[in-house]
């Protein structure tokens, strides 16, 4: 995989909760593959808690081949929110707050054949310690599947195997060590626990 392409502010309700203007078009940024982890079901994800408060953003993730979606997963885009706010204030890029190790958590991918044909209307959810934190459908977003790929293609070279984090809806918030994360989207039901870096 060459890169992880991420959309920022693709859901109006999330932009509003962050007191950010709803953009005409979403922002794009990139995470390196080295920031990614694919935890096994009921596995563990170590995170650098001592470096700052870590916030979650649950998102549908595409895997691309020849600019087609060949797989879907759910992901957590993590960030140091305080650092991100500081960088935003200074007009700097966000990468320093969003590219730490394990800041891109991705469930195993499932092929499109495993999803209903109207998968963009299929809800995805994030629960933390059994409590529902985020729920949305890609059809709620500003840009949807084909538009997202077309949009990215206008800015970045897309390589086979690239992943796309498609943006997060409202409900983002902080995480803490030992949180149990449950992700659900169509045939994907995946859970793991957040632990200390050790």
């Amino acid at each position: 995989m060459d890169k992880i392409i991420c959309l920022g502010r693709n859901y109006a309700d999330h932009a509003q909760e962050m007191n950010s203007p709803v953009p005409v078009r979403p922002l794009l940024f990139i995470k390196p593959p080295s920031a990614m982890i694919e935890p096994r079901d009921q596995g563990q994800v170590p995170l650098p808690w001592t470096r700052g408060e870590i916030h979650y953003e649950c998102e549908i993730v595409f895997k691309l081949y020849k600019k087609n979606i060949i797989g879907l997963a759910l992901g957590l885009d993590l960030c140091f929110r305080d650092l991100q706010a500081e960088l935003k204030k200074q007009g700097h890029p966000w990468e320093m707050s969003k590219t730490f190790k394990n800041s891109a958590i991705v469930t195993p991918f499932k092929g499109l054949k495993d999803f209903p044909s109207d998968w963009q209307n299929t809800p995805f959810t994030l629960k933390i310690n059994g409590e529902l934190k985020q729920e949305a459908k890609l059809s709620d977003a500003l840009l949807q599947a084909d538009q997202i790929i077309h949009y990215i293609d206008g800015f970045f070279p897309i390589n086979d195997g690239d992943l796309v984090f498609t943006g997060t809806p409202k409900g983002v918030g902080p995480l803490k060590p030992n949180d149990l994360i449950e992700l659900s989207f169509g045939p994907i039901q995946h859970s793991f626990r957040l632990v200390d870096n050790g």
Binding site: M1, Y65, N68, G111, K113, N159, D160, G161
Partner: protein, 57 residues
């Protein structure tokens, strides 16, 4: 000959082969048909051999 570019292209082709393998293993032909994968496979293997030979020189 730009060996760095050749190496980059070879690694991209290996990634492409891995994806093709996953598509076939999972019988995932919704976006890319079996025929298209077969054609991609032939083209990629041919180009991979050519680039590998060039890298060896």
């Amino acid at each position: 000959m730009d060996k760095r570019k050749l190496s980059h292209d070879i690694l991209n082709m290996i990634e492409r082969l891995r994806i093709m393998h996953d598509l076939v293993k999972d019988e995932n032909y919704t976006s890319i048909s079996k025929e298209e994968i077969t054609q991609d496979l032939a083209e990629t293997l041919k180009k991979l051999e050519e680039d590998f030979k060039n890298l060896l020189q």
